[in-house]
Subunit: 221 residues, 2 copies
Amino acid sequence: MFKKILIAEDFQDTNKGIANTLENKLQAEHIQEELYCDNAFNRIKVAHNDGEPFDLLVTDLSFQEGPVERRLKSGKDLIGAIRKLDSNIKIIVNSMVDNPMEINSLFKDYKINGYVCKGRNSLNELVMAIQETLQNRTYVSPQINLNTSNQVLELDSYDLFILQNLSEGLTKKEISQKLKEEKISPSSESTIDKKVGRLFDKFGAKNTHHLIAKLVKLGKI
Amino acid sequence: MFKKILIAEDFQDTNKGIANTLENKLQAEHIQEELYCDNAFNRIKVAHNDGEPFDLLVTDLSFQEGPVERRLKSGKDLIGAIRKLDSNIKIIVNSMVDNPMEINSLFKDYKINGYVCKGRNSLNELVMAIQETLQNRTYVSPQINLNTSNQVLELDSYDLFILQNLSEGLTKKEISQKLKEEKISPSSESTIDKKVGRLFDKFGAKNTHHLIAKLVKLGKI
DNA sequence: CTAAACTTTACGGATTTCCGTAAGGCGGTA
DNA sequence: TACCGCCTTACGGAAATCCGTAAAGTTTAG
């Protein structure tokens, strides 16, 4: 069994529920809980540098903003930072996201080892995911179908990146710049322009205001 | 202390976290967990009819849809059904909602006894809420300000008219036209422009995309 | 009543969005 | 191979946005 496990989850009740279950159902020796991404990262970094690294991270994706400005604001930020440091630590994501494209990208781009979709069986699934991970296999909640992502009204992670940044007030020029900085291709302003234009058709939106309002209401952003 | 407590919360990890904490920190004798509103209601109804009613319900507001069609789909549905049956049971809501208007209506229209906003301290708050409720007092998470906070960020019907039309893809010119047609004053494009600009300051938005995304997320549009 | 403060409106300029055209790249296929 | 369809990118023009200035109207306080 894993010796050192870290749980990153901002809701205290959820965090505690996971920690208790892992203590009871698995024989994990050392379980650490963190409510902020920055704290989680620091703890992993220190342990890594001390030669006593964590074996497993269980993390949420979405973290509420607190009163203080934080460097790592989401589970993705956290995982990205950790993977630069340590490619051995196993990572299981435990989140409400159920978009297959999004989850696929976590496995492909962030090298996570398991994905559990929060729900009425997610604690049991988490235990299963950990057992699979122990044997170097991956785990995905059964209700997620990574293959048949219903093309129709699905957004891939690239679309999501653009839309999220637009909804945070960035211009297409700024988003293009950001993509170049993060070495994500394609990155030209023109391509972003065209992509958004195609999303107008796809979702029946008149313009960007309309599109953002629709997608936020659908919970996609 | 309360003798019979029911927890209605669809996320297994969260549910378990709450149950464990109440067992450890309070001396509750009988804690029951339910993942579906319908099940929670039935259990409360049966206990009530048997003359051994529950003393306390801790419930979430939002419940994921499952494969089967359910009668009670939200915490509000559940509370509404329970209050028709039993006005004595104490109800504490534990949810991510942080809209003061929404929470106010839970106290006023649904006669709840406490409101805890999910977050990094919500388990501790829940324990406090239960202790307050025991003494027939109400509890609300300190970060929620039922009186003031929302005055500042309130939208009048004129603002709402503009924002709703913007979010439906109309331009300021078109909205100006529409106002003139409906004989609502002021109606000039310039005034609309200025009003929206002031809303940027009020809500800390960079531009209209940002503003619309924020307001839809706040449930104001 | 009057001065100060705010609102409505117009206008103009820099920037951005929206959309059409067009050139070049890349993969599939007959 | 040559052709087709799709994606990326550049460019340009019309329309829209964002924001500053300014004049005229309205409200508020003393």
